[in-house]
Symmetry: C2
Subunit: 694 residues, 2 copies
Amino acid sequence: MSTLDFFHRPASVAVVGASDDPEKIGGRPLRYMREFGYAGTVVAVNPKRDTVQGMPTVPRLEDSPVVPDVALVAVPGQAAVDAVRVAAELGVKGAIVMSSGFGETHTAEGLRMQEELLGHARSAGMRVVGPNSQGLASFHSGAVLGFSTLFTEEPPADGPVGIISQSGALASVPYGILRRRGIGVRYAHGTGNDLDVTAAELAAEAVLDPDLRLLLLYLEGVTDADSLVELGERSRQGGVPVVALVGGRSQSGSRAAASHTGALATERRVLDAFLERVGIWQVHSVKELVSASELYLQDWRPAGDGLAVVSNSGAVCVLAADAAEDAGLPLATLSESTVAGLKTELPAFAATANPVDVTAALLTDSGLFGRVLPVLGADPAVDACLLGIPVAGRGYDVERFARDAAAFAASGTPIVCAIPQPNVAAPFVEAGLPVFEEEASAVAALAQYLAHRRRMARADSLPRPAVGARAGEAAGPVAGALNEAQSLAALAELGVPVVAHELVPTVGEVVGAFDRLGAAQVVVKGSSPDATHKSELGLVRLRCASGEEAVAAAEEIASSAASHGVALDGFLVAPMVRGLHEGLVGASLDPVFGPVMLLGAGGVYVEATPDTQVLLAPCTLEEVHEAIGRLRMAPLLAGVRGEPAVDVDAWAKAVVRASEALADPTSEVAGFDANPLMLLEDGVVAVDAVVLRR
Amino acid sequence: MSTLDFFHRPASVAVVGASDDPEKIGGRPLRYMREFGYAGTVVAVNPKRDTVQGMPTVPRLEDSPVVPDVALVAVPGQAAVDAVRVAAELGVKGAIVMSSGFGETHTAEGLRMQEELLGHARSAGMRVVGPNSQGLASFHSGAVLGFSTLFTEEPPADGPVGIISQSGALASVPYGILRRRGIGVRYAHGTGNDLDVTAAELAAEAVLDPDLRLLLLYLEGVTDADSLVELGERSRQGGVPVVALVGGRSQSGSRAAASHTGALATERRVLDAFLERVGIWQVHSVKELVSASELYLQDWRPAGDGLAVVSNSGAVCVLAADAAEDAGLPLATLSESTVAGLKTELPAFAATANPVDVTAALLTDSGLFGRVLPVLGADPAVDACLLGIPVAGRGYDVERFARDAAAFAASGTPIVCAIPQPNVAAPFVEAGLPVFEEEASAVAALAQYLAHRRRMARADSLPRPAVGARAGEAAGPVAGALNEAQSLAALAELGVPVVAHELVPTVGEVVGAFDRLGAAQVVVKGSSPDATHKSELGLVRLRCASGEEAVAAAEEIASSAASHGVALDGFLVAPMVRGLHEGLVGASLDPVFGPVMLLGAGGVYVEATPDTQVLLAPCTLEEVHEAIGRLRMAPLLAGVRGEPAVDVDAWAKAVVRASEALADPTSEVAGFDANPLMLLEDGVVAVDAVVLRR
């Protein structure tokens, strides 16, 4: 068993600050454990009363008749710190500190108390959730060790969904939405300041639960990438999909998150790439967090993502097709035998291509759906169905429609329903089918479910991100940039082909370099580790066609450098290379996620009109090819309007080699930027490079 | 009064095919008119029964004691055609044909009957809704002239929203959703095949209703642009916003729409530009069609779009800020006095920047919202508020929160609420406030409401699109493309600056042209109206630096043309002009919307990686500047990395001039394509052009 299971199924719990009032923070957990069936030992700690809520108390935690698995701390400020100290000394496995007034206040005193609290726990090896935690609620064991008021408003029922959130509100809100939709929830945790145990670590514990089918996660910023890697791996092994909402995407949201939980700002695209890499599905709102839940709880085995749409309304067919394109789901092209099968089932004027419009004939032929769905399901191109019933009611055999749809769903093919009328939807919901008010929501949820399955399968084939290996380095010292020649040499060592070149220390030696390189035209650059935008500073001269031109260029460069106060350590001379297109490859160390690769369109406009993709290192050839395919410039790479294709594979291989080098924990390279990377018909070559060393 | 009001408030209605069965298509309207308070004369036409549903009948429409305003036709096929003929002969103002089996079946017989039906109506000046119409339902007059079953499932209540839809289902679905949300609906029309009266024409009638506050429109394709222009104008004049969902955006959706209603395919971006131009807000799903309805029904007077967020949850503050950025709503920067005001109202640890986190202090201080909201509302930077209450319930004075929010809303500043718990939301809904389950939906609806108001105000300042003037021409004959020299001349006449050039008939005369142009370098092109992609065919030679080079180039071009079978009518010689960037401007005649302008990034990659914007002609300078600002290339135009800025104004003026020329009904130009349009530091110049003439 993993190390945090005692939080979910403690044999005994002490409540420090146990209250007689079942509405108080120190009273609610006692009431909840009693009402929701906790069978372990509960110790109520209260120095002022002999009993609380009918239970006997002990005056101090030290007086507890047992060493509890968990100490739940509901006393404020220094008293909470002291309770943690005592718990640690007693050998308690874990404390949950619900008290607020710590790091989240951004006050010196709050931070000091928080550090002291952590010190006590660490010295004894005790784990701590919080402070400022709403508590952990586990409904399979009845260990509801928290104070969310929602458990009285929306009665709990143990079930297949876990909700783990840094924010108490964001544990409660999805809990409430799911419970109102009739879905059982096993865990509803609000972890708070994540001083020791993080939400991600608890999530990695929760997905080990063999009964769990879906985990919803809310984070504000990510500090604990290792736990997320572990969460992703366990999620895939156990087949428990994880859907994550990470607040603070926007500039103002990120500021608000920093103010709310002190979240670290990491580049958002890196987080996006990371979550994709480990198979966690990222959403951007609470609505999206919960929208596909019913789909994840099915036992479906979709083979692909070909969608068939069936409705008794032509307009719903049209809108579902639009929604499918929006969501990236292809409409299945039906086989001839499927169309023939539909023609035998449907009236002559019905649409038997996909979408299938069964028309108002449904009113007089209640078995239509029951006959049409299996015909569609038998078509190998159909991997999922949408059933749209915008109007029905009196005169329609709605119960039969629901039975037929449920029978189809039981065959293993996903089906989502778009049914706005609550009375028509009721038997479908009753049958356990996912029902949405309209087709666009249904299609979006289906698309998420299908894509998430693919992403999880895909994540299994990818190397583990190197977060553990090098993430810490990002905060460490960087020795600084190498000069251009050193950078080109370092880049070549990383596996990125570089242009032939010579670095000469003086203007006069430029002519010799020109002769030795033997190129028709050369570029001359002032070499300096200080200047990054060389062109603007007049430190680059292109197309020098003779030794004299090259020397003259070097002289101009020297004078430009002098006028801008840039110290030159020589002149780099290299043959002019023009690519069919200009790409770029770069790398950096993210403070949370370690080595990160950047690739995209290169040239001087990369900041003004960026067209780049981010990948975690190390990355695979397939990943890089896909990332290149997502670039806006991608259509150009195959060659348009008579141009030859560029050697995309050479580009991709260079990215992969560099990513593997960066992921090596012994690497001394802290980042690099090769722009432009000339994309040739045969190969690629970096003509400009900056490499940063630790 | 407009000409179609009799459909909404007929003095008398004859039902042809009146049924005794109140569930039949011919029986439901009788029942609905009786139950929903229709006070006019109803004539039931039934040759087989003396009474239906207790009403006396007449055997034939000819026997009606009055000439009814509206004949509602519920008999099938040819009988419906005959009924229309009789109604037309009697002088009936309008017929609503609910019968199906006409054009929508795509059968010869269906189309023939439809044409005959239309002929009868046209010959007498009678208007026809349908066939294949679900009918028109007007709840202020009780004239429910349709058979939607939903009116029995969800009882009607007259109110401020009109729903007009080509599809019966898409009239019923929004009706049901709004009614379940407690919103009154005045019109719920399903128009069907739109043979004569279109949904757009009825919508333009409906927005004249002084009690209407919001009109929802569903179309499948657009044929009736003139009515939409009129709808837009009346909508703005009357202050009745129109929200439109146009099915068939996607390729497969468009195919499904063609099969469903025979919708014409027009380029979707043209439709998008058109709707924006006339101030109609376009949505892409049923969910979006109805989501902001509650906001439109308020009497708010927002001055801008600065958003303030208030919540008792820090996480909701974070997520609302993220959602605001997604929706394009700026978070208001609060003034110092506002922050000072907040500090006096809030506990020390609360966040007094925007978003405002009032923290759990709300539990003990029920007046917090009531004090904080006015402080925010008094800040000139705050134009709208979001109030997020993710958790409340027992212990909270929710009624007071709702009263305080309602008082704030009554002051004229928009406020939306994100409240997931139904019992907490209830008093807010009761108070007439827009309540959403979570913050992202609330922010999206608010953003739509605010942007739609701006779009309507903006549309008033724009010229009327030239749809009426030239739309019909698109289907007419095009004389074909002009050759390059003629095209450049025609383009100059349209007001687009063109490069100096000479067209010479023979290779030998190229040298003279070179000398006369006096440029350091020229381009030589084979002139032909047939070849569009000249570069691939070897018909273009750049950078000829002498007369000899130019002649040699012409010789190569002649031989390339011969080998590709392209007939040349001469050689065009022009100075080499290189822009700082390459743009394009073009125009075409859309079959529905008339003259349409295209502008964007030019060059040879315009098809492979398009970066273009569409505008309706004629367009204003401001519109063109905004459209240029939306281009991906826009950041380059101001000059990046030391480059000079291009003359965007010259580009915009050229587009405006050409748009005005194209919008002139006497114009002989059917379209043109100037690519590249060289964007210079001073001015723009087209170096390549194809112009199409009628």
